[in-house]
């Protein structure tokens, strides 16, 4: 933890919504991480609550199931004293045919100040944001596009351990093709000046991935070599039926993280995973529970980073 810098330059916060990290500068990323650090301090207090969002209404609008992300946002909102409404798709009016535009207007009519949205379709949060006059939108994951809060919490966790991220080597291993986490992490770590290397089955790599400024190495041992952090992506078992990899065992043998793979990384390299983990698939238990794993710390970072975003985007006058 001593790696954290003491002072981060003050800046004027410009982002009204958080849809993706493609328009964030390095200074903005560090500023957000710094604010999250002070928010994490609130989590350690006997009274885990500050009044900064008192009277603001947050709607967690989830069109896909995600208990972890929703609970993380909900905790963050509650620690900032916002009023929280959870709106999940099952049994909601979308099932009855309501359009997204009408949903937006309905939310606004109810007085929503901040909408946290998870949707299976790429661009849904962006569209919702364009229909809201006052409310702001934080993207909690849209299709295979972006998951900016996950990338920010990954940056935050890495920053706490590694210090300044410039020049650090990050290896991301797994199903990059279907992963919004990977896409946002590539953007985030890339903006920070990291050397990002991807690995995984060729069937799970997007075409022309180098366009994002990263390298691809089929062999994870080469990808992980001298890495400061190894990031494992969740493998969805359904992908096996799609023929993207032959079997779970085979995936684990080739690309799963075990203690042998880690010997190629820098000694003491961090191991991260967005969760929930598949033990014995993309990560062996000995690694998930090992001393290099910061997977549970990522969960905690998630609450802090979401508090920071809620404060920075949702706290002021509208």
């Amino acid at each position: 933890m001593s790696a954290m810098p003491n002072e981060v330059a003050q800046l004027t916060w410009k982002h009204r919504n958080v849809i993706d990290l493609d328009n964030w500068t390095r200074e903005e990323l560090y500023f957000c991480l710094d604010q999250a650090r002070h928010m994490e301090n609130v989590m350690d207090r006997p009274i885990k609550k500050v009044p900064v969002l008192r009277g603001k209404m947050c709607v967690n609008l989830f069109f896909e199931n995600s208990t972890r992300t929703r609970v993380s946002f909900e905790l963050a909102e509650k620690m900032l004293s916002a009023d929280v409404v959870n709106w999940s798709v099952s049994g909601s009016s979308t099932a009855k045919g309501e359009t997204m535009r009408d949903t937006a207007w309905t939310l606004e009519a109810m007085g929503a100040d901040i909408v946290v949205m998870r949707h299976g379709a790429v661009g849904a949060p962006q569209y919702l944001a364009s229909k809201l006059k006052h409310g702001i939108v934080l993207n909690a994951g849209d299709g295979t596009h972006a998951h900016p809060t996950q990338a920010l919490l990954d940056l935050y966790t890495a920053w706490k351990h590694l210090g300044t991220l410039e020049g650090k080597k990050i290896a991301i291993v797994g199903d990059v093709l279907h992963s919004r986490v990977a896409r946002s992490d590539v953007l985030g770590f890339g903006t920070m000046g990291c050397d990002v290397v991807l690995s995984g089955p060729p069937t799970m790599m997007p075409r022309e991935i180098e366009a994002l400024g990263v390298r691809y190495e089929k062999d994870p041992k080469i990808a992980v070599k001298d890495a400061d952090m190894v990031y494992l992506l969740r493998i969805q078992r359904e992908r096996q039926q799609d023929g993207l990899f032959p079997s779970v065992d085979e995936y684990h043998r080739w690309w799963g993280a075990d203690s042998e793979l880690l010997t190629y990384a820098k000694p003491g390299a961090l191991v991260m995973h967005p969760g929930p983990i598949n033990r014995g698939v993309e990560i062996a238990s000995e690694i998930a529970d090992g001393h290099q794993s910061v997977i549970l710390e990522q969960v905690r970072s998630g609450v802090a980073i979401r508090m920071a975003l809620l404060y920075l985007c949702g706290g002021g006058a509208r």
Binding site: T12, N41, P46, V52, L80
Partner: protein
């Protein structure tokens, strides 16, 4: 942002140092010694002032005096009127504040709203036995029933004026100046 024009210097570095020294000894006097007390600086300049007071008391009394820092940003009552979010700074207490005598330290007391926020932030951290406030300058215009227990200097001001307490750690030199906000 309105520009500030410096009108007069109220204290130079020596004057400011004398005032801090007097505040330090008044704190020890109010506390009847150095037991059971914590100095708490309010961000940003209060933090540096509190650290100086800590050092003076420690040098004079040959004891260790705990010193914390308090950021009141998340407790401000004017956030919904601001278009720009102020930066959050750290809040750190050296130990549990419950049952302790807390001496809040800030540079200027004006409307009293910062102190109100600081009190709310403090009671979220524990239940001090007593809280007292020490400031370098009291410039009047209170909007809440709050007063300073220890004050370096009373300076009657106009609302259009601004008092700047400058500290070497942040501003490169120690001084107190009074400025006029230029018409925009």
């Amino acid at each position: 942002m309105a520009q500030l024009t410096e009108k007069a210097r109220l204290m130079d570095s020596q004057d400011l140092n004398r005032v801090i020294r007097r505040i330090a000894s008044e704190i020890v006097e109010h506390n009847k010694g150095t037991d059971n007390m914590i100095l708490v600086g309010i961000h940003r300049r209060g933090v540096y002032l509190a650290r100086r007071i800590q050092k003076m008391i420690e040098d004079d009394e040959h004891v260790k005096v705990p010193c914390g820092e308090l950021d009141i940003t998340l407790y401000r009552d004017d956030l919904t009127t601001l278009f720009e979010q102020p930066m959050v700074h750290s809040t750190r207490m050296p130990e549990d504040i419950s049952g302790k005598a807390i001496f809040l330290v800030d540079d200027v007391i004006y409307t009293g709203r910062t102190v109100r926020a600081a009190l709310e932030a403090l009671v979220d951290l524990g239940r001090p036995s007593i809280v007292q406030l020490a400031v370098i300058i009291d410039r009047g215009h209170r909007e809440l029933p709050i007063h300073a227990d220890i004050c370096g200097k009373n300076v009657p001001t106009k609302k259009s004026e601004v008092i700047e307490v400058r500290v070497e750690e942040l501003d490169g030199k120690d001084e107190v100046v009074i400025c006029e906000r230029d018409a925009e």
